[in-house]
């Protein structure tokens, strides 16, 4: 088992494919069809392109704030792809790749970052929660969802994401500990992208790894090269299986890097060196997966270019639709607080509409 070799205190990181796309541990490559890997890669490319498009649009003043995922696509897609259809996904806020893989429309995502709550209204059968802005607070929901699955005797597992910064919060401890006590079928996935806004991982905790925080809750953990799609898939799959078969929670640290800014409001040159970014660009999860696929004869540079071009175009079209939605409807900000709108809200809405009539 991977947790035994790459557990919290082993000081070893699971890597199956190196940064040039060479398979180092063939015996650990998850047993999927070539086509499936290609599909996963395509979701990674879509994530990257959607990111780039969003940044472009933001710079044009059309998109609002946006939190880029560039560099973290393997951590996201690899983990999401290991999940079963009815498993639950509980994001932090930087999980575009996971969302797209799990069936959240890019249109929803753009709509959210465009500033409309409808971007958080996913279809009924998509078991994905919306973005949780208060860092790490979502982990508690994941534990509750997982506990409910086991109380109801269902074998769905929940995967919850959190950042390296999020591991310093109180909620992180409470969630892991709770999950341990109730043997909840949940996988906690830290996307350690080395920064919480400007604060580097080293100033976030004195712990040498983040995965060692699993020890506090007495649960297993595994440290994974987060830029390695195979490793992410394999580690998550193992954790999901353990949870599904009654083995309880696992903590995964996906060791990755945020190649872009924290959000479009952030200027990372204030707090990190270009040289560091360059180093990590070498470890780009897309680059290595592309090399692997091309090497295997499953893909080509031209195909890659045209796919990217297509995704960028599609993203632009999606955004145009989003942009066309314009402003949030007045009713929308009132209508959804309660299953039935209480009198005082109805009155506030009516009075305001009346005012609008009058000034018109």
């Amino acid at each position: 088992m991977l947790v035994e070799q790459y557990g919290p205190l082993k000081d070893k990181m699971l890597q199956i494919m190196d940064q040039d796309g060479i398979i180092l541990r063939p015996e650990l490559v998850p047993d999927l069809e070539d086509d499936t890997w290609l599909e996963l890669y395509k979701v990674m490319v879509k994530t990257r392109c959607s990111d780039e498009q969003a940044l472009l649009l933001q710079r044009q003043g059309r998109m609002l704030t946006y939190a880029p995922n560039t560099g973290q696509e393997a951590a996201q897609v690899g983990s999401a792809a290991a999940m079963a259809k009815t498993d639950w996904l509980v994001p932090a806020f930087r999980e575009l790749g996971a969302w797209l893989y799990r069936g959240v429309d890019l249109e929803k995502v753009y709509l959210y970052w465009y500033g409309n709550e409808r971007g958080s209204q996913f279809p009924e059968d998509v078991r994905v929660l919306p973005i949780a802005v208060p860092i790490a607070s979502q982990l508690q929901h994941a534990v509750g969802i997982a506990m409910a699955s086991s109380i109801k005797g269902e074998d769905d597992v929940t995967v919850a994401y959190v950042g390296d910064g999020g591991t310093s919060t109180g909620d992180f401890n409470e969630a892991l500990n709770f999950a341990g006590v109730f043997n909840a079928p949940v996988v906690f996935l830290i996307q350690n992208n080395q920064y919480a806004i400007s604060v580097p991982r080293q100033r976030q905790t004195k712990a040498e790894t983040l995965v060692q925080k699993a020890v506090a809750a007495g649960i297993p953990g595994v440290l994974v090269d987060g830029n390695d799609l195979f490793a992410m898939y394999a580690a998550t799959k193992e954790a999901l299986n353990r949870a599904r078969w009654g083995g309880g929670p696992t903590l995964i640290e996906a060791y990755t890097y945020r190649l872009g800014a924290h959000t479009t409001s952030d200027d990372p040159t204030k707090y990190r060196q270009d040289s560091e970014v360059l180093q990590w660009q070498e470890k780009d999860p897309l680059k290595r997966m592309k090399a692997y696929l091309i090497d295997k004869g499953l893909w080509s540079g031209e195909q890659d270019d045209s796919l990217s071009e297509r995704f960028r175009q599609e993203a632009l079209e999606v955004f145009r639709r989003v942009e066309a939605t314009g402003e949030t409807q007045l009713e929308d900000i009132f209508k959804y607080h309660f299953s039935e709108m209480p009198a005082h809200l109805r009155e506030q809405l009516e009075q305001y509409k009346q005012y609008l009539e009058e000034v018109r």
């Binding site: 958080s120 929660l129 109801k152 409470e174």
Partner: protein
């Protein structure tokens, strides 16, 4: 019908609803094996097993946050916070998620959950065991906040709360957990959330209060009746959303208004009720709407709490002042 006090009614009601609906789960600190520090959940673990009634680690944010997750995944969690003064570690979950998940997801994720907690003071308890959170919870858009003053009401309101598709905070006045018994029907019945109750019709002044103070206010009313003052006494029952109609109708009739509450005065619940009266009955007022409220101090520990909590006499004096205005 059985004679029951408030705490045993809570227990009976949870039992009834757990039997009826297998999605109802009950948990919190010391809730399982021990049956709750006040014994609200006694016997439920034995009866329904430790998957449906269980102890949690000492972690309020996780208790409430897990309830959010459970509600999303099809259960109807009823979480206990051991004392209202210990809900603050869960405040982020309550304000950022419990109150908002439905709106955030534009109706996609209902949160049918209940958070129960002993509330208010007067039980000679340690610090943080006597808090009144009416305002701190009532001000949060997206929450329903309920507080019963009798066993009968507790049953009807708690059943409504558990069956409600939206989150309900259920504040239980710990002072009257065992203060008196009342006939409570064995069978199920609900009392609507959002409706105040006129306990006694009167003509001279409208007195609004809730929780444990209801009983002192009724005693105050007795004192005043002997003086020929006929107050209308209203038990608010629901802190949020407020039943403005019942209050305004009453004030339009009586022309005078007093709200009595345990919580600190400034930015307290009384201010909201006075505002409502201003908005709905200003022209009927024969005296300024008035609050008889807690001092703006930390609620004292036992040897000082009599200075803080009010008895009927003090309430009567306050009401009398407004009538004589």
């Amino acid at each position: 019908m059985a004679l029951m006090n408030l705490i045993s009614t809570i227990n009976h009601t949870l039992d009834l609803e757990m039997a009826r609906d297998s999605n109802v789960v009950v948990f919190g600190e010391d809730v399982g094996v021990e049956g709750g520090v006040f014994r609200a959940t006694v016997g439920l673990q034995q009866k329904y097993g430790d998957k449906r009634c269980f102890d949690t680690p000492l972690a309020e944010s996780a208790i409430v946050g897990a309830a959010v997750g459970m509600a999303i995944n099809g259960l109807r969690p009823v979480a206990e916070i051991q004392f209202s003064g210990f809900v603050y570690p869960a405040y982020n979950q309550i304000i950022s998620h419990v109150a908002r998940m439905r709106n955030r997801t534009r109706g996609r994720r209902n949160l049918p959950l209940v958070i129960r907690m002993p509330h208010g003071g007067g039980i000679k308890a340690l610090e943080h065991h006597s808090e009144s959170l009416d305002t701190l919870l009532g001000h949060i858009p997206g929450l329903k906040v309920v507080t019963p003053s009798t066993p009968y009401d507790a049953k009807g309101l708690l059943l409504s709360a558990i069956r409600d598709d939206d989150p309900v905070i259920f504040l239980e006045p710990s002072k009257i957990y065992r203060a008196f018994r009342q006939e409570v029907p064995e069978e199920e019945y609900t009392i609507p959330i959002g409706k105040a109750k006129v306990l006694k019709v009167g003509t001279d002044i409208t007195v609004v209060t809730w929780g444990a103070y209801v009983h002192e206010a009724l005693k105050a009313d007795k004192i005043l009746q002997e003086e020929g003052i006929n107050a209308e006494i209203i038990d608010l029952r629901t802190i949020s959303p407020l039943d403005r109609d019942t209050i305004i109708d009453s004030v339009q009739k009586t022309g005078r208004f007093v709200v009595i509450h345990e919580a600190a005065k400034s930015f307290g619940p009384g201010a909201e009720l006075m505002a409502i009266v201003n908005e709905g009955a200003f022209l009927y007022l024969e005296a300024p709407p008035t609050r008889i409220a807690g001092f703006d101090v930390t609620i004292p520990i036992p040897r000082g709490e009599h200075h803080y909590f009010m008895d009927a006499q003090r309430m009567a004096a306050g009401i009398r002042n407004v009538v004589r205005y």
